[in-house]
Symmetry: C2
Subunit: 351 residues, 2 copies
DNA sequence: CATCGCAACTGTATCGTTACAGATTTGAAG
DNA sequence: CTTCAAATCTGTAACGATACAGTTGCGATG
């Protein structure tokens, strides 16, 4: 056999699926040439590239992910790391949708990697690093000094956080402006004549705890209102706990007349506690709540809501990880979504 | 070199990650032996197996997924196929959590594969089949004659459906007993003296449409109530559409006094429509609703809810696909979850 | 003391892809 | 008529794992 054609595929691959070998066979080229033609390498002739691309398209060639991954280490996987616990109010749904909307136009797949105990937050990160399971990672519930961020940065694995950190590391993130949310909430409540305000805040170890508190306190100063303490309770507590604690507060001397709720599901529990204390929302007390879904607006239009669009967050996060993977500088991959009050649901027919 | 030891690894792999080669080097065995020892093959000595397992554990060996996948075709991936559209009320969240709870104890990863247009429901299935992207598939929103089920069965790829089909193919599924739900709902409403009942039903093309209708109609017969038509509207319509249509119905001569809502978010819209027609829930009209989350119970305790536990559904689905992959007969992988009325939220302190 | 069977282990080829180091052709320069 | 460089193309090896077809050593059998 002519040495020049020694390596030309003589047979097609067994399985029905086309590979480089299939294209090489059909075009009469070598496998290497086909591979390089498809990645538009400079040492392949223009006409050859055209021919290869045509055939590849015709037979519906798609590179074998395992082959690529084994050879290059590129997984084409984005890993979404989630706590099983945070799922109470279903923030994951729109997030997954948003992410996949972006990944749909790319070769990336979305893998969901869960962890259970809060102290194990590092475990899935280690797993991904150790096994090279993903090209990029999305994490949420960031802390000011976040061990995951430190580890990922040190090991050079691209990632993006949902929430910011405070450790002097410049990394991609997307966040909701919780400072501004709380500030605007206070403004709104004071405008309604409320001056004794309570905040249902995030757990203190998370970064956005201090954002929200800062906004709240700045609002109190600027608009001259007072804080009612409710520190024993935060949005990570169960709805029953929040409700009961709030009932006690509402029955006390110290009852607030305005509420800022840092979570949509927390708002439900606050309303229940308020009603158990025989108070009426909109009369004895007004409330502003963050809300990632629509049900509050529909069922309790008295509540003033600021919509946190998790779906958009998912899109931003996906774009940011990919940007990071592609080598864009982290500082260009940071975004903050601005809270805005939602209009009430249209009440007219044919709305 | 002695031919007997010709293939013994002389060097460790470059990357830090241990491979079979690493273990072979450390134990002085051949790569093949190590591979077979770790899968407990019968032709490897007991002591050798022990030694290999020990070393593997010590150095934290984990098989390279790309290597396995390339050689064997086994992906260790379960694909969850979702419509981007169905995500309105966030059913995905608890579902993903339930699935990952089960996959956590297995080598499987969960990949989320979305599709957008309803007519493209087959596209992700074809993709998975063509590229061998997964060992098993989870699909939802089944139709009586479901092209995806036909295709997956024909091509022999293990799968499970959330919902049943009616095409004479015995396949794994998990479903909520919608027939019984509607039947019990009618019973409850009639027990409350309601006799003019309306059903907010699923879109007619889905299998559980006929289940729910059948249960509803059986209930009407058994408990002697009448149906009020509401056929122009179903749970896939927008909340605003549902609300407006229901307002019209409630203002008409033909207004119902009892509602069976096939979806939790639909219930929200029905309540809004009812209130816009100046009617009062619990007085002019009672309602039983399916509810995958808690907010209805908290915010509208007048609504009687039957909880559909999507998280459990996720667990059942995951177990069923894996069972199917492992060759268990499909008829042993079918389950139906029984609806039960939920107790009201505990009202006392320290509940 | 050959021969056989068995237990325990190993080498080779392969999955699909790509990095790397050639190989071949062509045409221009000397 | 060399010689050389540029333009194209190609073979080989390797990523990590496993199927398959051996090989080795050893005690039992005739």
């Amino acid at each position: 056999m002519d040495s020049k054609t020694k390596n030309r595929p003589q047979t097609l691959p067994d399985g029905g699926r086309p590979t480089l070998k299939t294209i090489a066979f059909m075009t009469g080229l070598g496998i290497t040439t086909v591979s390089r033609a498809l990645k538009d390498a400079p040492d392949i002739g223009a006409e050859t590239k055209e021919r290869v691309r045509l055939v590849a398209k015709q037979i519906g060639y798609q590179p074998n992910r395992a082959g690529v991954r084994l050879r290059t280490g590129k997984t084409n996987v984005i890993s979404l790391v989630l706590t099983l616990e945070e799922e109470i109010m279903g923030i994951t749904s729109p997030m997954v949708v948003g992410i996949t909307e972006i990944l749909g136009g790319t070769p990336y797949h979305l893998v969901v990697t869960p962890y259970s105990a809060v102290k194990d937050a590092l475990a899935p990160i280690r797993y991904i690093l150790d096994t090279g399971a993903a090209d990029g990672v999305i994490i949420s519930r960031t802390e000011p000094h976040d061990a995951r961020v430190a580890l990922l940065t040190e090991r050079g694995l691209p990632f993006v956080t949902h929430g910011r950190t405070e450790m002097g590391i410049v990394h991609p993130y997307h966040d909701f402006d919780n400072e501004r949310f709380a500030y605007e909430a206070v403004r709104k409540l004071v405008a309604r004549g409320r001056r004794r305000l309570v905040l249902l805040e995030p757990p203190p170890h998370l970064t956005f705890y201090s954002h929200m508190r800062a906004g709240f306190e700045r609002g109190l100063r600027d608009f001259q209102a007072d804080a009612i303490g409710f520190h024993q309770t935060n949005i990570d507590h169960s709805l029953v706990e929040i409700r009961d604690a709030f009932e006690v507060l509402m029955r006390s001397e110290d009852a607030p007349d305005g509420i800022v709720s840092g979570s949509g599901s927390g708002a439900i529990a606050l309303i229940a506690g308020l009603e158990m204390a025989k108070k009426k929302l909109g009369e004895d007390c007004d409330m502003v709540s963050k809300s990632p879904s629509d049900f509050l607006r529909w069922l309790r239009p008295e509540v003033m809501t600021m919509y946190e669009d998790i779906r958009v967050a998912g899109r931003e996060l996906a774009k940011a990880v990919i940007g990071h993977i592609d080598g864009q500088p982290p500082e260009t991959l940071q975004s903050l979504s601005q809270p805005e009050f939602q209009p009430p649901i249209t009440r007219g027919l044919r709305a």
